[in-house]
């Protein structure tokens, strides 16, 4: 019996070991489920419309395409920039698909696919704000600049701002609430979010940088290893760039100006 137990234990452990060595792609196919992390508040990228409870955006659409290409079911997993790294590395999801800025800090912990979008940094203020009329007015003494915690805007603005005060807020809504309430003068965002703000609010005013301020490539992130899965996703990225799906979905979501087809 003891021997039998030993054998069983070995087989289980061996099996587990074998299983551990399986690439994520195999697991996905085997489980028939692709788990994709999305930040459900990312306008244009992966936005959960509270009114319809439907995800809309280029990356949520592309996630559907990826699952279709892999011929597996799709499961969206709610995530955020604050929890992104842990969500990806702790296998909460197979891949994070919500236009993640490919920054050095993130690259240290996560593996990035070839970028499919790229965006500069833009500022949103209120129409009634008398201090900020153009980009140069932002980095002035007395100005409060809000950024969301975990976004790449946080390190960039920390580095760039000399005179203005940086306010890092936790929740996704906090940035605009800070500005709307007058606790901050401006919040930093990217093209998709900025565009959406203008479309959905009466008060938002877009401030554009005079020259390229900090162009960041947007891509999807996954855990290191899993080359097979990575390569398959890379192939998918290559495919959607070639077969027009990327461009069409960018067009559908109003992101054609920032699409990266190379």
């Amino acid at each position: 019996m003891t021997f039998f137990k030993i054998v069983v234990t070995f087989l289980v452990l061996y099996g587990t070991s074998l299983h551990a060595q399986n690439d994520k792609l195999d697991n996905i196919i085997e489980a028939n489920k692709l788990k994709v992390c999305v930040w459900p508040n990312y306008y244009g990228i992966s936005y959960l419309d509270h009114r319809t409870q439907k995800l809309v955006g280029i990356d949520s659409d592309l996630a559907k395409e990826l699952a279709k290409d892999l011929k597996v079911n799709l499961e969206f997993v709610p995530s955020s920039f604050a929890t992104l790294t842990s969500d990806v590395t702790n296998d909460k999801c197979d891949i994070a698909m919500f236009a993640i800025g490919n920054t050095k800090l993130r690259r240290e912990k996560m593996r990035f696919t070839t970028p499919h979008l790229s965006s500069d940094i833009y500022a949103i203020t209120t129409k009634s704000n008398r201090k900020i009329k153009n980009w140069d007015d932002i980095d002035k003494k007395g100005i409060v600049v809000a950024v969301a915690k975990g976004t790449y805007h946080e390190p960039v603005m920390k580095k760039k701002l000399q005179h203005a005060k940086l306010l890092v807020v936790n929740s996704y809504k906090a940035r605009e609430q800070e500005v709307q309430a007058g606790r901050a003068d401006v919040f930093m965002t990217d093209y998709p979010f900025g565009k959406r703000m203008l479309a959905t609010t009466d008060w938002a005013k877009l401030i554009l940088p005079k020259t390229v301020y900090h162009m960041t490539p947007y891509a999807w992130a996954m855990d290191y290893g899993n080359d097979k899965f990575f390569n398959r996703v890379e192939k998918f990225v290559s495919d959607i760039k070639k077969d027009g799906r990327l461009l069409n979905l960018a067009r559908k979501n109003g992101l054609e100006p920032i699409v990266n087809l190379k």
Binding site: H50, R51, T52, Q53, K54, L55, F76, P78, T200
Partner: protein
């Protein structure tokens, strides 16, 4: 005319521009008004959306608050009562257990009701704790389904320490209607709340459609994408100004519909007044333009008339000048002082004087001095009284030759009736006068010729008349001589023969008397009987007619006429000789001449008809022309009938005519000529 056309076209163009501008302005105003109402609709939609958002935010918060109190019934009851008191739009607050049965309700009647929330919208994607909207339900509350009232059920799943619950709140539909009644009435407005899956939750008007699918339109669909959409829309054949706005957090579209016709009616009434005013102004302008045009037309017509008149006058002047320069009549124009100011070519041609030679002179230099002073005195007297003189004047040419002119002098007055000119127009009748003299000479010659011809005829007649008596005398004298020579004479025989000789001599003497009377020149007109004339004529001609077996029938009404008896005899002789010659030329024995003399009104009518067949029609009109004859030269001169007509018409003041007629003799009808003479009674 072209100017009037231009003005008319311009006026029309300006009117059209004004109308176009008015139309453009009115359209713009209407558009602005529409836009204004569209803004109102948008504003209302915005307000309603904010307030509806606020209501559901409150409900959401209320639900969150209740979550922590679910286990404490006393506390929750208090909170619910307080919430109901503060929020009149809530009809009831209910708590359902995990089996969806009502375990707590502000309305006890709702308790233990089983509620199916599977169709509540939206279905949660990540998080179950969201506000979800059920379809509008007919009834006062969850327990009731029979009243006219309706409510909107709203739920939220909540997770408390004691388990999963559902909080369900029913919303009072009528609250919204009452809350916004003022807007709805003032703007004839319809307010609707639609769930994102197109289910109508609330309508201020359409109660039947509650809980059912709406008809989607472009504005509605756009509002779900872009938050707000507005414009003009036709719904069920009715025009609306619509505004649709979706709420940010809840799956609701608020729609505001303004009745287009009702809202724009007031504006249209004002517009009508403006249009009427503008119409009046345009009519006034049109009236003024027409008035001005008519005035312009009148003045233009007058000007045209004047120009035409001027042109005609110029034409007339031109024609007058042509006549003036080219007429054969001499024309002389003087001023009021009778000094020559102009003469025409014919004047120069007739008088020999050129214009430069006569200008400024009194025309008296043309006088021939053949007229005495009284002639000119009378002439000017007549001109001064009648402004006109007409008569013959003998003047002298530059070469000193006399010429006769038929002169007309007229006085010309100016507009003030003062003498301006005298115009003399004359025709040179010198040649005409010479012709008249020639004609008179010719007439005299013809008369002479006629007399000579008559004389020859008379001599023939005398010879004829005398032949028989002379033969008798000769025979008687020869008989006496023979009887004396042969001794056969006796006194009785001699006396008998001498008586015969004497009778014959007497006859010759009488014959001479007859001829003498004929040739005796008539100095004075006399009264004589027509029968005497016939007898005298017949005495002269009798022998010729007897010899030629011509029978003369006379039906004479004797009447006295005035004239020259010899000339009348000559008339009878001419016509009778003519008849005799005609009868001689015919080849039958029925030779008749009928002389009818009768009275007809104031005239004595003499008809002399013959049976010679008549005058050929081709020459009947020429028989009274001088030198016209059908006879041989040896027989006729062609002046007999000419002289006859001259005597009758000019000396006897009568008429003579010739035509063909018929005469009846012994029941036989004969064709012949008829000379008909009409002479007035004495």
């Amino acid at each position: 005319m072209k100017n009037i056309e231009k003005i008319t076209v311009s006026a029309l163009f300006i009117t059209l521009i004004i109308l176009g501008m008015v139309k453009f302005s009115m359209d713009n105003l209407k558009k602005e008004t529409e836009n204004g109402f569209q803004e109102i609709a948008k504003l209302h939609a915005n307000i309603f959306t904010d307030q509806i958002n606020q209501i559901f935010n409150n409900i959401n918060n209320t639900m969150d608050n209740l979550t922590s109190q679910i286990q404490n019934e006393i506390y929750i009851d208090k909170t619910v009562k307080s919430t109901l008191g503060q929020n009149p739009y809530i009809r009831s607050i209910n708590i359902l257990n995990s089996d969806e049965m009502i375990i707590f309700s502000s309305n006890k009647k709702n308790l233990n009701q089983q509620i199916n929330t599977s169709n509540y919208y939206p279905k949660p994607f990540f998080n179950n704790e969201i506000l979800r909207f059920g379809k509008t339900v007919q009834g006062r509350d969850l327990f009731d389904k029979d009243t006219d009232l309706s409510y909107i059920p709203i739920m939220k799943k909540v997770l408390s320490n004691s388990g999963d619950y559902t909080i369900l709140i029913t919303i009072n539909n009528d609250y919204i209607t009452n809350r916004y009644q003022k807007y709805l009435t003032n703007y004839s407005e319809e307010l609707e709340i639609t769930r994102f899956d197109d289910i109508l939750l609330y309508s201020s008007l359409n109660q039947e459609g509650l809980g059912k699918n709406i008809k989607k339109n472009a504005f509605y669909l756009e509002s779900k994408e872009k938050s707000l959409s507005s414009g003009l829309d036709i719904i069920n054949n009715k025009k609306y100004i619509v505004a649709y706005q979706s709420t940010n957090l809840y799956p609701l579209v608020i729609s505001v519909k303004l009745d287009y016709e009702k809202n724009l009616k007031e504006w249209e009434n004002k517009t009508l007044f403006i249009l009427l005013f503008i119409g009046f102004i345009i009519l006034l302008i049109a009236f003024i333009i027409i008035k001005l045009l008519l005035r312009y037309q009148n003045s233009k017509n007058k000007e045209i008339e004047y120009q035409e008149k001027l042109l005609k006058n110029q034409e007339k002047i031109k024609h007058a000048y042509i006549v003036y320069e080219n007429t054969n009549d001499g024309i002389l124009i003087t001023d009021k002082d009778k000094n020559i100011i102009d003469v025409n070519k014919a004047f120069t041609l007739n008088s020999g004087y050129s214009l430069t030679e006569v200008v400024g002179k009194n025309p008296r230099f043309l006088q021939s001095y053949l007229h005495d002073k009284d002639f000119y005195k009378d002439m000017w007297s007549q001109i001064n009284t009648t402004n006109h003189w007409h008569g013959e004047v003998i003047n002298k040419t530059k070469d000193g030759e006399l010429y006769v002119e038929l002169l007309t002098i007229n006085t010309v007055y100016d507009n003030n009736m003062k003498i301006k000119n005298y115009v003399g127009i004359f025709t040179n009748i010198t040649k005409q006068k010479e012709q008249e003299v020639l004609l008179k000479e010719q007439e005299r010659f013809i008369n002479q010729q006629s007399k000579m011809a008559s004389m020859g005829e008379m001599l023939e007649n005398i010879a004829h008349q005398w032949r028989q008596p002379l033969s008798i005398i000769s025979t008687a004298a020869t008989g006496i001589k023979m009887e004396k020579e042969f001794g056969l004479s006796n006194e009785e025989s001699e006396m008998k023969k001498l008586t015969i000789i004497n009778d014959s001599a007497q006859h010759l003497s009488k014959t001479i008397d007859d001829f003498r009377d004929f040739f005796k020149p008539n100095k004075q007109k006399e009264n004589f009987f027509i029968e005497d004339v016939v007898k005298q004529s017949m005495n002269i001609l009798d022998s010729k007619f007897v010899n030629r077996n011509i029978q003369i029938e006379k039906n004479i009404f004797d009447a006295q006429i005035q004239g020259y008896k010899g000339e009348m005899v000559q008339v009878f002789m001419n016509i009778l000789n003519n008849a005799r010659d005609a009868l001689e030329s015919v080849d039958f024995n029925d030779r008749f001449i009928i002389i009818n003399i009768y009275k007809e009104e104031k005239y004595v009518i003499i008809e002399i008809k013959d049976s010679a067949g008549g005058v050929d029609k081709s020459i009947i009109d020429k028989v009274f022309e001088p030198y016209f004859t059908t006879k041989h030269k040896s027989q006729g001169t062609g002046i007999g009938l000419y002289m006859t007509e001259e005597i009758i018409t000019k000396h006897m003041h009568g008429k003579i005519d010739v035509f063909n007629s018929t005469i009846t003799h012994e029941n036989k009808i004969f064709q012949g000529a008829c000379f008909k003479i009409s002479i007035p009674f004495v």
